[in-house]
């Protein structure tokens, strides 16, 4: 198996090169189809915010005087339940760029799985419901599901996570192979006059090596995000179970204490932090007997790290300020580093550019393999057989 051809010099033993090239060829070939899917669907997702605005799917929060009083959380729960009778609130989310609206997720029961929930916004001053169609269906959600799990649930996510790992191995082995290929060539050489294959070989090496860090970071953070379900389950086992152990035999709640003061209670025990979302009792981010208010850090860097405050849903006493295990921090930091949404529009454009460049590296890799095989067949037919 020799996918490559011209190796000059002898410092790197040809046997070693063959091994690395075998690893590079097959890890790449196996993951390429999936990586192409991820790179192509990821491209519009970088701009999902802008696209939703263009499609008219983004809710317009009404202009009102800045000092308009806001409803409290219990009133917002009431407004939500009036908007969707027979359903319960699962989550309230708070967004920095839209302080007058509360993201609301409801479903038949608190434990209903995320894909069957309904997402919309509540005007925090009037309780008026604003639909967010793109969060519940339509083209962008379709693309998102393709990107996240190919509509195959957890097995789909884990398959994509495995493909991400192969991608990382392909990047590392490709970097090792960069040495024998580039030994005689100055950095950035693209040979134009020899053959199309050599030109694309040089481009594959050049683009591959300059996008190395970005591709590794997006790959690894993608793998971490794909494992989010498992990480959340581990967190529930490790931290949550211990903290709510005293409630194990408590009867199920028939009535919840009003949500009115949840944010104040959480702020008191987590000073300097800001609310990110509230998980209502019975959801997978809380327990049967607790509201969980997830507080994010007050600085730019720590705003991606969440600290849950567990509040007893009948007495409104704080049961615990949960510790954040390292893997939940890894999950929190993975999100911006995967989405590229933390450095304004120029970063999004660069993210898209690097994504397209990755597609070119993937495509040229397949091309080089095909051409090489064609060239090698007459000579090494018996070896390949």
């Amino acid at each position: 198996m020799d996918g490559f051809g011209v190796f000059e010099g002898h410092e790197m033993k040809s046997k070693t090169i063959r091994r690395w090239s075998f690893i590079h060829t097959w890890t790449s070939l196996i993951c390429t189809v999936f990586l192409l899917l991820l790179a192509l669907t990821g491209l519009p997702l970088i701009f999902h915010h802008e696209i939703e605005h263009l499609l008219g799917d983004a809710p317009q929060v009404r202009e009102m005087p800045a000092d308009t009083p806001r409803l409290n959380l219990a009133q917002l729960v009431e407004a939500a339940e009036q908007h969707r009778p027979g359903e319960v609130v699962q989550y309230f989310g708070f967004e920095d760029d839209e302080p007058n609206a509360v993201l609301t997720i409801m479903a038949k029961t608190a434990g209903t799985e995320p894909n069957s929930s309904h997402t919309f916004m509540l005007d925090a001053r009037t309780g008026e419901a604003l639909e967010t169609p793109s969060a519940n269906g339509g083209l962008m959600l379709f693309i998102l599901r393709l990107h996240v799990d190919m509509f195959a649930g957890l097995p789909g996510k884990l398959l994509l996570a495995f493909m991400g790992l192969l991608f990382v191995v392909a990047i590392i082995s490709g970097t090792v192979l960069y040495l024998p290929f580039m030994r005689r060539l100055p950095f950035g050489t693209v040979r134009q006059d020899k053959s199309t294959r050599l030109r694309w070989l040089d481009l594959h090496n050049l683009i591959g090596v300059v996008t190395l860090t970005w591709a590794l970071v997006v790959g690894v953070t993608g793998v971490i995000s794909a494992c989010a379900d498992l990480l959340i389950a581990a967190w529930r086992n490790d931290s949550l179970t211990a903290m709510v152990a005293p409630y194990r035999d408590a009867p199920p709640l028939t009535r919840l204490a009003p949500a009115t003061r949840l944010l104040d209670i959480a702020r008191d025990v987590a000073p300097g932090m800001n609310p990110d979302f509230i998980a209502f009792p019975g959801t997978r981010f809380s327990s049967e007997h607790h509201y969980a208010v997830f507080m994010k850090g007050g600085t730019h860097l720590t705003s991606h790290l969440l600290t849950p405050v567990l509040i007893d849903a009948s007495t409104l006493q704080v049961t615990a300020v949960a510790e954040r295990p390292w893997y939940m921090d890894a999950m929190g930091m993975s999100q911006p580093l995967h989405f590229g949404d933390y450095g304004g529009m120029p970063m999004k454009i660069l993210w898209a550019t690097l994504d397209v460049l990755t597609i070119i590296v993937l495509g040229s890799g397949v091309y080089l393999w095909v051409v090489r095989r064609k060239a090698a067949r007459p000579v090494t037919a018996e070896v390949a057989a």
Partner: protein, 59 residues
Amino acid sequence: MKPRQSNFWKVFSTPLVIALLSAAGLFAALLGDGIWDALSWVGLGVPAYLAIRGLLQCR
């Protein structure tokens, strides 16, 4: 695998600088807005520019 040191650095010094620059760019924007964002645009702009320059070199 025992490449001669000189060869290793001759081949990898530029890619290493670019890799560190990209990493700094990815990290910078996590720290703040304004100047930090601008640093990230430089860090990620350099690899994007070099790749596109290679692609556009005329035959």
